[in-house]
Symmetry: none
Subunit: 421 residues, 2 copies
């Protein structure tokens, strides 16, 4: 099945926003064995939108659109498609009720424009939006199904997961063509770059029929995708399962999870399984480690809190780091990192504590302690205190993201080491 | 002048690579007062590339392409354009000599495919590649200049800076049309949705000639862009300056800065200007407020640190919140928020402390305290303690992002209130 993707928005054609929706959709289509032939972006100009829709419907068997479903006057997707299919825009009552309920429960007020986003072309098949207010919908244009979603990436993804993926499979399999079934697994890795991981996995597929390997950088992580295609879904799944142990063996400790997993969630599972609690002591990451940990729902089971000790005074006050250590070695030092972790563990009563101290830049570096130098330490479980030094290239935000994720990875490693003792 | 952007590559249409070239080029064009109408990506399929080129040349006055200039058999841009203009692909001798010199200096060997990338369509205007091997070039198709660059972002940018920008200006000004100069300002706002802000700004331009208003959601913020076009750059700048006070008056406290500013940086400037220090006490945001503050280089001047108190025990231990308050009102309450802020201020010695406590969900909500309920409090400057209640719709990460940004906004407001007392 041949598909096209259309994205609408002045902000795209002015270069104010990078269009990540098209590539996300294209990857999802590819996984469904649907080939995306063209991806087109145009402005919020009705004539251009009409032309883009007519062209796409003249070439493809299905068209997926995003953008132009918001509340402002330049959101034209409903109006353009209603006109093209000879219908009127109508208010979708269930979406209106959801909008009214949401606004009533919140501190926002409904203004007239607000209601534009709950309209759909009359007669359209409507797809609920689990992540926002504007519903998705589908109309048929010149015999080709055209599916529309909002341009907000999380809303597009939510509608795709909830409705569009199933609908695309239905269209694909209803076409009568023998289509390959796809089995895939995404391995999430942290701690090595794409070229390092590609080298580690060289030849791992061993010529398995229909199997391919793909890489995607999701900084600071690298995702490895193994895909198997076979007309028989069971055969595809079986071949994927066969490859799994070989891929995992090659990736080793670099791989912490699969699919939509996160490093913080993987660490949370490891802590919860062992009945351990964690505390954090952060200098250069300024709370990012705590932010990552608490992004996981239910993290209160194993995370009670931490200290942000950006200044030396706070390292002394909150963690009991000694003035002598700071004077002799400075705040960015192995000694300080270890005292931070041990101090946090002792004061909080947590089973494990992790600390981060470093030079995030752009200023503050020296020959001895360059920008990018970061010390991490983990105290516990038990009496063990481990520490590790990194020097990363890159900008302030990259160094901080690497430091925060490395802190999580170091705790995971300390738990594994303790378990194997 | 109306332009179109074309990007060629199978990897784009499989979603393996996000197309950042198109948005980069679109932003550059916009700054040259060249309007990009369409951005199209298609696969490395000669028939599709021909169709994309013909369509673009039928609509636009100039076309900029990227991709398909590499050494492999699926790099078809030279062949397709040569055929369309009725020429043969020819080797560009200066580029060949550069390639041979480069290879001689390295351990790589030239294989026949290597030479594909130094070809151009016969008769093309050639643009040197300061960052790589494959030259850019320009041909004229149906009277429309078509400029081609490699798809590697670094090479595309290098050729654009070295040659294409100047060539586009030449085409723009040679067209005989008086081209507008652009003055623009981006206002950064936080605290209200796009539709609310659009309502607040309705009619603010008052029909000023050549002035337009644009909105962009950068969750949890909304950006407002005012653009003025005029053949006379001074007139454009003057009209923008005239509109500035009206726009600011309408936006009021919602607007915290301009351009690439951030709320944390704006707060940092306000603290530094008053010589005040800030500390943070976070429950449901788990360190995100500290993370935002320390994302700003130099934040150590006014931020010493904070406490992450995810559990009740840590609220008592680190901040001295009373057990009685927690028992009577719970952790998500005005009383707790105020004790957190006051406790943090007292213990840290900071001039101002801000606290956040709420129900981020997805679980843990009740009829009385639903998911999305967040209490914020600010202690200081001086003896003042202020607090504010929010109920936000949305998912866990949205509620947390809104809470963290609102904490910064509330401190800014407290500083302003103190200054006006």
């Amino acid at each position: 099945m041949l598909a096209e993707i259309l994205t609408f928005g002045d902000e795209l054609c002015r270069g104010e926003v990078v269009d990540t929706n098209s590539s996300w959709l294209a990857a999802e289509l590819w996984d469904l064995d649907v080939t995306c032939g063209w991806m087109t972006s145009c402005r919020d100009v009705a004539a251009d939108m009409r032309e883009a829709l007519r062209q796409a419907c003249g070439r493809a068997e299905v068209v997926v659109c995003s953008g132009g479903l918001g509340p402002t006057e330049d959101d034209l997707t409903v109006d353009v498609l209603a006109e093209l299919v000879g219908a009127e825009p109508v208010t979708h009552q269930p979406s209106l009720q959801r909008l009214e309920a949401r606004f009533a429960a919140s501190s926002y007020r409904i203004v007239p424009n607000t209601l534009r986003q709950v309209r759909v072309p009359g007669g359209a098949r409507v797809y609920d939006n689990p992540a926002g207010l504007a519903p998705g919908f589908e109309v048929t244009l010149n015999g080709v199904p055209v599916m529309c979603t909002p341009g907000v990436p999380r809303e597009l993804k939510a509608i795709f997961e909830a409705s569009l993926r199933g609908r695309l499979l239905e269209l694909r399999d209803g076409g009568g063509l023998p289509s390959a079934r796809i089995a895939r697994r995404i391995y999430r890795t942290f701690g090595a770059g794409e070229s390092h991981i590609a080298t580690a996995l060289e030849g791992v597929l061993g010529g398995a029929a229909g199997a391919t390997l793909h890489y995607q950088v999701a900084f600071p992580e690298t995702l490895v995708k193994v895909v198997v295609r076979d007309p028989d879904p069971d055969a595809a799944a079986a071949r994927l399962a066969e490859l799994d142990s070989a891929v995992r063996e090659r990736l080793g400790a670099l791989c912490y999870g699969e699919g939509q997993d996160s490093l913080a969630a993987a660490l949370g599972r490891a802590l919860a399984a062992r009945g351990l609690t964690l505390a954090t002591a952060e200098s250069c990451t300024g709370g990012m480690v705590g932010g990552l940990l608490t992004a996981v729902p239910g993290s209160s089971r194993y995370y009670g809190g931490g200290a942000i000790c950006y200044s030396n005074e706070e390292k002394v006050r909150q963690l009991g780091v000694s003035e002598a250590t700071l004077a002799a070695h400075g705040a960015v030092s192995e000694e300080c990192a270890r005292e931070m972790a041990a101090g946090m563990r002792g004061r909080s009563g947590a089973d494990v504590a992790v600390s981060v101290t470093g030079v995030a830049g752009p200023d503050g570096g020296s020959a001895e302690k360059p920008v990018g130098l970061v010390w991490l330490a983990v105290a516990g479980p038990g009496e063990a205190v481990t520490s590790r030094r990194f020097v990363w290239p890159g900008a302030r935000d990259q160094i901080r993201a690497l430091a925060a994720h490395s802190a999580l990875a170091l705790v995971l490693r300390a738990l594994d080491a303790a378990a194997s003792r």
